[in-house]
């Protein structure tokens, strides 16, 4: 029996591609959650609403201060003990999305803070209402320079979604582990899974480097 069995490797590709497809879906939806929730969190913290801002600061610290794996375990294995039960995939998506919201919120904050104070003053001088000021003036200008950073978080989420295999989700790593334990051969499924992760993340990181030149001003 050789170390690498090409026929076996080819035979397991379809099942790994299924997991790969689930990984892409989980990543995409989680990323959308982190974009929306992160923006809301950063705005609420920026407005410094007395109690609410404090609560959000604490939540952000909690999420950043504990491992994603622990959060996934709590959501999937502990919450049901209190009667809160969801399927593994939705649970995983929400955990991953909320986890990264804590990070994207910080990125948004940096984007908002680097906006020149004159932009706020001009909006005020024109009597633009707060919501309109945020939507039309602040957010478009705050997001532009942080697009490359958000792109990097997208790649990290894509890779971190592998952690969700530990709460029974058969995504890319999960399907590789399943194949491995069924056939007692781990080399082929894990290698192919690694290649599939790389096939997505490497071109994406090249693309982000290009975006950096376009969106981040030189000065």
């Amino acid at each position: 029996m050789s170390i690498w069995d090409t026929n076996f490797a080819i035979s397991i590709i379809p099942i790994l591609l299924q997991g790969f497809w689930l990984t892409l879906q989980i990543t995409f939806i989680s990323f959308l959650i982190s974009l929306v929730v992160g923006l809301l969190v950063s705005i609420i913290r920026f407005m410094k609403i007395p109690v609410v801002s404090l609560i959000f600061s604490f939540l952000v610290q909690f999420v950043r201060g504990t491992p994603l794996l622990v959060q996934a375990y709590i959501a999937f294995y502990v919450f049901p003990k209190f009667g809160v039960t969801f399927d593994a995939v939705p649970t995983g998506i929400v955990v991953l999305g909320l986890n990264y919201s804590a990070y994207t919120a910080e990125v948004y904050r940096a984007g908002i803070e680097q906006l020149h104070v004159g932009q706020w003053e001009a909006a005020r001088a024109l009597s633009l209402p707060p919501l309109r000021t945020w939507i039309r003036i602040v957010v478009p200008q705050a997001v532009r320079p942080i697009i490359p950073v958000l792109g990097n978080y997208l790649i990290m989420m894509f890779k971190d979604s592998a952690i969700l295999s530990s709460i029974t989700i058969i995504e890319l790593l999960g399907s590789a582990l399943q194949v491995g334990s069924s056939y007692y051969r781990y080399l082929e499924p894990i290698t192919i899974a690694g290649i599939l992760y790389l096939v997505v993340s490497f071109p994406c990181s090249l693309l982000i480097r290009k975006l950096e030149h376009r969106f981040v001003p030189a000065h």
Partner: protein, 271 residues
């Protein structure tokens, strides 16, 4: 006759020119120990063009910023067009009220750094507030914005974004943007200080045209003494948070009475 008569007419307020348009009564403002305004009493008549001069840190810009509600006075009453803008009580944290926001709409401001929205076109900059604050239809707002851009000589640039324009052009767009809100009071906060010398004239020409052909009340903070002289009905010399001296431009520039004014004018014109 100016070719822009129609659009200039729309900028005219209807109030009698003898009415008091802006009033500061006992207004103070301090940051820590730095008292930028000390019990200021100051009035401007409707349609009056007033230049405020004085050394940096004298509090002259703070007057404009309080009128634009970018600063809150610590104490004092400020009214615009007879309506309360600020009624600040001592010893409490004064905040803007609904009345502040209503009265603020009578005021427009042109900033030293233009503060245009760089991600929007020139036209979008001008129509944003008329559509979303005044509730004017998009068609009407566009038509009026184009007239105003023509007035400031930038109709051909309405599809450009501010970073594509020179500083002088940006400042003229900023003037059009402020005018689009039909303010009764226009504030100019050192409108040419950030400009290259050869671009100052085009901005001053626009301000001059507004000053001579509309009855908007105008306050100008400037270091351009020659322009202040021709622009103003009245010049106010400011130092250390109080009015040192005020009067018609000939009097202030040719025969200043106060020693502080004489020293200041000598310093800024000695080159």
């Amino acid at each position: 006759m100016s070719p822009h008569t129609d659009i200039l007419k729309t900028l005219n307020a209807t109030e009698s020119p003898r009415d008091i348009e802006i009033s500061f009564a006992g207004v103070s403002k301090a940051w820590g120990d730095n008292h930028v305004l000390r019990g200021l009493d100051f009035e401007v008549r409707a349609g009056e063009k007033v230049s405020i001069i004085g050394p940096s840190g004298s509090g002259k810009t703070t007057i404009l910023r309080i009128l634009m509600t970018l600063e809150t006075p610590d104490v004092g009453l400020v009214t615009v067009g007879g309506d309360v803008l600020w009624d600040a009580k001592p010893g409490v944290k004064n905040k803007e009220t609904k009345q502040t926001r209503i009265t603020r709409r009578k005021v427009g401001m042109v900033f030293q750094q233009f503060n245009l929205f760089p991600h929007m076109t020139v036209l979008e900059n001008v129509v944003e507030a008329p559509i979303h604050v005044l509730g004017i239809s998009k068609e009407d707002a566009n038509a009026r914005a184009i007239d105003l851009l023509e007035l400031v000589g930038l109709k051909d640039h309405m599809k450009h974004t501010p970073p594509e324009l020179s500083g002088g052009q940006q400042q003229r767009v900023a003037i059009a943007r402020a005018l689009a809100m039909r303010p009764r009071v226009m504030l100019f906060d050192e409108p040419t200080s950030a400009l290259d010398p050869e671009l100052i004239g085009e901005v001053l020409n626009v301000i001059r045209q507004l000053a001579t052909t509309t009855d908007m009340t105008m306050l100008l903070v400037t270091h351009e003494m020659r322009f202040a002289q021709e622009f103003s009905d009245r010049v106010v010399m400011f130092d250390k948070g109080v009015v040192v001296e005020q009067g018609p431009p000939e009097q202030i520039f040719k025969h200043p009475e106060h020693e502080r004014t004489q020293r200041f004018l000598k310093a800024v014109t000695a080159y």
